[in-house]
Amino acid sequence: MEILELSTDVLVIGGGLAGANTAMAAAEKGARVVVADKGNIDRSGDIGGGVDHFMAFLNQGQEWDTQDAFLSYVENVGRGTGHLSIIESVYCAELTDAIDRMARIGNPLTQADGSFYRTRSMGQPGPYWINFNGKRLKPRLGKAVRKLGCTVLDKVMMVDLLTHQGAVVGGLGFHVRSGNFYVIQAKATVIATGNTNRLYENPRINPFNTLLCPFDTGDGQIMALKAGAALTNMEYMRMTLLPKGFAAPGFNALVGMGGRFLNGLGEYYMEKHHTMGNRAPRYEVVYYTLEEIRKGHGPIYIDCRHLSQKDLDHLRASLGYDKDTLPDYFDQRGEDLGSKPVEITVSEGMQAGPTEVTGSGVKIDKNSASTVPGLFACGDASDHNRCVHGAVAGGYKAGKSAASYALGLKRVDSHPKSLTREEIDRFVAPLYRSSGYPYRQIEDPIRKIMAEHVGPMRSANSLRVGLKKLGDIERYLDEMKANDLHELMRTNETRSILSVGKIMATTALFRTESRNKPYHHRLDFPKTDNTNWCGLVVVQREGNELSCSFEATT
């Protein structure tokens, strides 16, 4: 186990869709780049296995197809969960380049005939989803990143940021196979580590059977918070609908192609509850689905029997682009979209952005900069990027800004002192304990507490009880034992998961209203209060405590 020291202009933490675009941007600006990923950037992150959707306005002549119309949509569904001026800068202004870049790396968003296949769902005024084949998007991005000369550290988990004189100046990580420890000095650092997806008790038993990547565990958000950065929108518990036994994506494709939500009584309930019917915003669909289940109207199904053969064929292919193994799952379970409704259910909770167009995590400005000098953020780990479109556009924006910042520094005034072996050893301590708890014995109860006390029906009392129980678990963190480096990675993830849970409960307690129900549904404050709460809850660390404040959106 060696200590390896590296020096670079831009360090990118997380090489998923956002981080890979960040690395490309920084390298194309002339910066030296290091990318570190727990997996392998050729296949890591939420879309490692593939993806089929990208949200965009294209200015093709329809009134809903413009930037102004898109921002109105953000305002309507976002309901104060993002600053339009920041979304304009980190997404709208980057969109044309983002679409061109997808083609440039060999994964265009167009069909074979050059056209865009567009569908509409989730409260959109027109078909903003571009349906495309992204099964090889990550390998192509990985190749582009390596070709640009970036130093890629696959299977390296970053565990902390280096700070000096109030700025972030790099990070620390270890290789999950060799155990070698990396001390990376960087003029600019970008957090691109995704959401927190292994946070809630999983209705499908296995906590790794999650909609989004279960290895996204909030590590970047917690590192940023510890370094002094502000986070926002952390109170939102995102959920969606998915096939009963397999947390595979496909909601937008199924609904976009015309799928209808059906309850156990044979009623198309969304068509009764919402003026937009099945194409209502996602949180509305989840809310009414939970209501149906509570009323005893379950199970819930998605019905595609009415679709034409051509649409069914397109849908089957598209579902396999979004989740490569979903067609296998349907086959092995005996499901057929064209002949019978498929049972679906509400997903596990995630700490994630409240909509597909407003995010959560590290608070960023128009240049993707955090509130700490030298630290930037993008993708699902930042509060103004969301989903595939946000990662591609916002990731590149963060890379350009980080490179500009790094290359603009005349010199690094002074480095932090070298780390001692003892300081590094605290990250690997679970390996050397003679006895201790496996990480699952700590993580499973965290998920249970989150589901029971910080879930879709919250109150001040439940949140306080949740916080107390999460606090009680905290004392066991230093008693976890890892049998190998893989388990060491998981124990570090458990620490992040617990921290995210505490932040979520704290911010949910602070926001005394409900917003985008059921993502933040306070039973003791069931109404949305736009007079006092149309904006972001900002959370920061003050000593060992969390401090919340409110920032109205503009």
């Binding site: 392998n40 296949r43 490692g48 696959d154 193994t325 379970r333």
Partner: protein, 70 residues
């Protein structure tokens, strides 16, 4: 517990081990070559990357009973 490795087809190139985002696939010695095995089966996310990228077409996917029966 996907994935399932066809050891007769496998060349032992190690690509599945390298790209697995779960760090769930490892290599072990087997006769004259190295072959993959699923060291952490519960942690597979069923992303299908290993099957897609296997140059020998040696990987298939079989979902476990808990996912197929609930």
């Amino acid at each position: 517990m996907p994935p399932i490795f066809d050891i007769k087809k496998c060349s032992g190139c190690g690509l599945c081990d390298s790209i697995c985002m779960a760090d769930a696939i490892y290599l072990k010695d087997y006769e004259e070559k190295e072959i993959p095995f699923l060291k952490y089966p519960d942690e597979c996310w069923h992303c299908g990357s290993c099957r897609q990228d296997c140059p020998e077409g040696a990987i298939s996917i079989q979902f476990p009973p808990d996912m197929l029966s609930i």
